[in-house]
């Protein structure tokens, strides 16, 4: 059943008990926290998918992904500001903006370093991420910016279990993106080239694939997905800030590592797991321990399975 939008929620009487007492109430509460976790996990999953495409195809670890996500969020912010609440337009613009940034990341951080030691491009990505962050602070200002209400704040209830329209939109968007990516990887020539490059660059070169070009496009594609994750985050949290990227990049990295770094499906699963673990952890403690649960879980899994959820090389969907 559907509740009214909160535009006129002041007409309803203040505060009511959402939960029944006893076992049933505890279960509903647990389910609500699970939904929060799934929603957050879905966003982490999208960040991790983009991340593992980048790492898989380029073959080098990146620390600019947080900034890529942030640029996507800002692109969406300005698009919504101009167009009202055209969410499709916002998705396209944030994808495009992060794609363009991905091109520069490729040019600066990877193109000349394919044959250099790995730490060279790693350090370059760290430096470049600082450059983007500081430039963004100068251009966009250091303050938080309010996000427009793009999705109407309706919510659906089954008993005391509540899910908002926004949460549904986020989860559906992530599923669509993951499916599209899967189709690209498996059904198009470009996708097969991407897979080939991520599995073995030398062999791909020998069969006539333009490895650098494919690596560039794969990097941009991963960044574009990061940009969409940025849009979803901005809409979900309703504020954006130039410094928002750092912790998000770490979460994307952690989710991706959990999934085995280059496997797209398992990275998505890693993101989902971290989101759920965090939120269930908060259920029993408090949010000050959020990152402890996320990274504690990561360490625990890596102790048991150092290769993450999967061990084979190369990007797979």
């Amino acid at each position: 059943m559907k509740e009214g939008s909160y535009a006129n929620m002041w007409d309803t009487p203040p505060s009511y008990s959402l939960y029944e007492t006893g076992e049933a109430g505890r279960m509903d509460y647990f389910l609500n926290q699970l939904i929060n976790g799934i929603c957050q996990g879905a966003i982490y999953a999208l960040m991790a998918i983009g991340y593992s495409v980048v790492v898989g195809v380029v073959g080098m670890v990146t620390f600019t992904h947080g900034e890529v996500i942030m640029i996507g969020a800002f692109a969406a912010y300005y698009m919504f500001f101009l167009s009202g609440n055209q969410i499709i337009l916002g998705l396209i613009v944030s994808f495009a903006a992060s794609w363009v940034l991905g091109y520069f990341v490729y040019k600066v951080c990877y193109e000349r370093f394919f044959n250099a030691p790995r730490h060279v491009s790693l350090l370059t990505t760290i430096g470049f991420s600082m450059l983007i962050k500081n430039l963004s602070q100068i251009i966009f200002g250091p303050n938080q910016k309010p996000m427009l209400d793009v999705v109407e704040a309706n919510f659906f209830r089954i008993g005391a279990v509540q899910i908002s329209e926004l949460q549904i939109v986020i989860i559906i968007t992530v599923i669509i993106m993951a499916t599209l990516l899967s189709l690209i990887f498996n059904k198009t020539k470009f996708g097969i080239r991407l897979k080939a490059v991520s599995q073995d660059k030398t062999a791909s070169y020998m069969v006539g694939i333009n490895v650098k070009r494919v690596a560039m496009l794969g990097n941009c594609l991963g960044c574009g997905l990061g940009g969409i994750a940025g849009l979803l985050l901005a809409v979900y949290y309703q504020t954006i800030q130039a410094t928002m990227g750092g912790p998000l990049g770490m979460k994307a990295f952690a989710s991706s590592v959990l999934g085995g770094l280059t496997d797209v499906r398992f990275s998505a699963l890693g993101g989902l797991c971290i989101g759920i673990i965090e939120n269930l952890g908060i259920t029993v403690t408090t949010a000050s321990f959020r990152d402890m649960f996320a990274f504690g879980f990561l360490i625990l899994v890596l102790i048991i399975r150092p290769q993450g959820f999967v061990s084979k090389k190369g990007a797979k969907v």
Binding site: E3, W10, N32, N36, A153, T239, I282, A287, R290
Partner: protein, 383 residues
């Protein structure tokens, strides 16, 4: 070379003493000099400038109206750079200069506290407009502050805003896990326990948290009648996310004050929000608006509460001088009278308690139609 350096050191040590001695000889009995310590340069320069402008406005007004007990006030402004060592050196200079009757400043609690032993030994009042550390004023009988103590607002919030004004009992608290947040919460909780407020759930988070949905779900499960948010920067996000889940619980916040940024970030979600503030530029108050206009024309920027408090300190000193009546005015009489006087300043009623600071009487503000509106005035706390 060594001798030259030694000579320079000796000269630099002796010169201020000679300078100070020269000043004290020139003391004019009809002028009362007040030493001002303010960070005119450095990170807090805006506030230092605010001190200078605010205090000078007060001095000009008092002198134009015939002075304090017929005596003219004069400010001796020194730049402490927000540095404790610098501030202490200047405080010592003021202490040695017998023409200085009282020190106004410094801006930070740190500087003011560093000066406390110096003014204590000299028997010279140091009246800080802004030091809010609970330990500062009790350091010496000569140290005073009017900002209100960090540990007085949270109990006020429990007693007057939640229990009396809102008339609610079940409170959910969400607070930032920082020095400020944790101490605000413990002060709030202590008072809540004392007056029988029921804190049904208290949750916290660390700096830079973005997703509050699981905390909100947790709070909601405890079914509070009012949710109190203790933070500054994250308050708008928490409000937005609470309203985003369709939860129409009463909201209250302690920390951001009457921040315009908060209204800009939350829009209609802030409607009905209740908060406390010691001071508020009420647009309906013509005198206050005239004050603000004068300040802006002289300083070139919008005033916060800090220059307002600086302005009030001068009037407190004036009241202390006038309380001596026809008797002699000394550093000691100013101190003794200052502890006793009671005035209503621009920032509110001012009367020192035993340690030499004051429990601010906070106003209760609510957001109505996108604007802060004062719901209850200063006298509410007296009831």
């Amino acid at each position: 070379m060594k001798k030259t350096i030694l000579l320079l050191i000796v000269v630099s040590l002796v010169a201020p003493m000679l300078f100070a001695a020269g000043q004290s000889e020139a003391a004019d009995t009809n002028v009362i000099k007040l030493g001002v310590l303010a960070p005119l340069t450095g990170t807090n320069a805006e506030y230092g400038k605010g001190f200078e402008v605010g205090m000078q406005m007060a001095v000009d007004k008092i002198n134009a109206a015939g002075g304090a007990n017929g005596k003219t006030l004069e400010l001796v402004v020194r730049d402490s750079k927000g540095d404790q060592k610098e501030s202490s050196d200047l405080a010592r200079q003021f202490a040695d200069d017998m023409s200085i009757y009282a020190i106004l400043g410094d801006f930070t609690s740190g500087c003011s506290m560093a000066n406390a032993p110096i003014v204590d030994a000299a028997g010279l009042v140091q009246l800080s407009p802004t030091a809010s550390n609970p330990n500062y004023a009790g350091m010496s009988p000569y140290t005073f502050s009017i900002m209100g103590r960090q540990d007085s607002e949270a109990p006020f919030f429990a007693r007057y805003i939640i229990q009396k004004y809102l008339g609610l009992n079940k409170v959910g608290v969400i607070y930032i896990n920082s020095d400020w947040g944790a101490s605000s919460y413990s002060n709030f909780k202590a008072e809540a326990d004392r007056i029988g407020l029921n804190i049904v759930s208290a949750v916290n988070y660390v700096q830079d948290e973005k997703d509050f949905s699981s905390l909100i779900t947790k709070l909601r499960a405890a079914n509070p009648e009012v949710v109190l948010i203790l933070d500054q920067g994250a308050v708008p996000q928490i409000i937005n996310q609470i309203r985003g889940t369709g939860w129409n619980v009463q909201l209250a916040t302690l920390g951001p004050g009457t921040s315009e940024q908060l209204i800009n970030l939350t829009g209609k979600n802030a409607e009905g929000l209740v908060l406390s503030t010691p001071f508020f530029f009420d647009e309906a108050d013509a005198d206050l608006m005239a004050w603000r206009k004068e300040f802006v024309s002289k300083a070139g920027f919008e005033p916060t509460i800090h220059p307002v408090c600086a302005y009030d300190t001068v009037y407190l000193i004036k009241a202390a001088i006038e309380a001596s009546g026809s008797g002699e005015i000394t550093r000691q009489t100013i101190r003794d009278n200052l502890a006793k006087v009671s005035i209503t300043g621009v920032s509110g009623p001012l009367k020192f308690n035993e340690p030499g600071d004051l429990t601010r009487e906070y106003m209760i503000c609510a957001v109505e139609n996108g604007k802060y509106v004062v719901k209850e005035g200063f006298d509410y706390a007296k009831q």
